[in-house]
Subunit: 176 residues, 2 copies
DNA sequence: GCGCTGATGACAGTGGCTGCCATCAGCGTA
DNA sequence: TACGCTGATGGCAGCCACTGTCATCAGCGC
């Protein structure tokens, strides 16, 4: 993972071959593919932990919370976890932003996150179509908030940006 | 396009080689790649027309419409265009649903649609963060509505499903 | 009949990814 | 201690998506 991260940063994702990554890591190409399904997956290795935290936060949230609020709580928790990564998330995002292939992979990870979020909401007793809509809307807010947080120079807290974006979404979707 | 569509339908996307597509179409593999950037792109050839229709509808919508309502109008127009395709959209979606690679490509097309939608809203004078949020929320609604429309057997109109989903989203995101 | 242009064929090459088999270190057990 | 098992790795051949390059060829204006 470290070797891949360095090489993607130095020469760009597409200019880096798996052979180079394996070589720097002191392994063979074959072994690389035993650890990662493909060349992109290296950058998304920690996604499961994020999903788990979000789901458990949603499931354990007070029953009094409305679906969209439970989703917000889960995504704020995920945001807090991301922020613990220091400057790594920003560097990772810079690599992703430079490659269409990686953006595709990120989008499907977010779609998987939305699916898990919808499941968590259903576990709270939320029925369709509210579960899917709240999940998709929540992920949409998360995408926008994360994008803002990555760009901004000053050290605003990611969970705060997420919460603020949820409030703005409420206003926008009300049509006012 | 027709050869690819048939083969993807008959044997699945991943089991189909470009050589087979080219052979059925009476061309060489090299010529296939002169018409389509890659093996997936064949299924997304008509996406530009959809984007154009959505954008022009949003730009030309009455100035009195709120951002989310303008987005809804644009996406309903896109839905109407899709519905003109007869049973093709459903068949296409069945192929996509069977392949993770194709789902990735579809998601990035939807992200591109969201970006175009945000631009169209900005052309209406909508400022940030309302433009991005309304665009992302609109695409989220569109995804859900399209998913419902594809599943449902009876002949409900796609634009009507989209409009209904927008209303439900309003309720959900209000937290009620 | 001539030259231009755009589309296609043909071919070699790169690199991501997989299947298969050999090797080897660690480890429990007779 | 020797044996056998297991899990991780190396090595290798091969498939296929995709690209660069050059030759060919049909159409078309002159």
């Amino acid at each position: 993972m470290q070797a891949a991260f360095e090489l993607y940063h130095e020469h760009g994702f597409e200019q880096t071959t798996v052979a180079e990554i394996a070589s720097r890591a002191g392994l063979t190409e074959r072994t690389f593919f035993r650890h990662f399904a493909d060349k992109r997956e290296v950058l998304f290795a920690g996604a499961d932990a994020l999903t788990d935290l979000m789901v458990s936060t949603v499931v354990d949230a007070p029953a009094s919370l409305m679906p969209i609020e439970a989703a917000a709580a889960g995504l704020e928790a995920a945001g807090a976890l991301i922020q613990e990564g220091g400057e790594l998330p920003q560097q990772r995002q810079a690599i992703i932003a430079a490659s269409a292939e990686l953006q595709e992979r990120e989008l499907i990870k977010l779609a998987s996150l939305a699916s898990a979020l919808a499941d968590a909401l259903r576990a709270r007793g939320v029925v369709e179509p509210a579960a899917i809509l709240a999940a998709e809307a929540g992920i949409a807010v998360f995408k926008v908030a994360f994008g803002r947080w990555v760009q901004v120079v000053d050290g605003q807290e990611l969970p705060a940006v997420i919460r603020e974006s949820f409030d703005q979404m409420k206003t926008v979707s009300a049509g006012r």
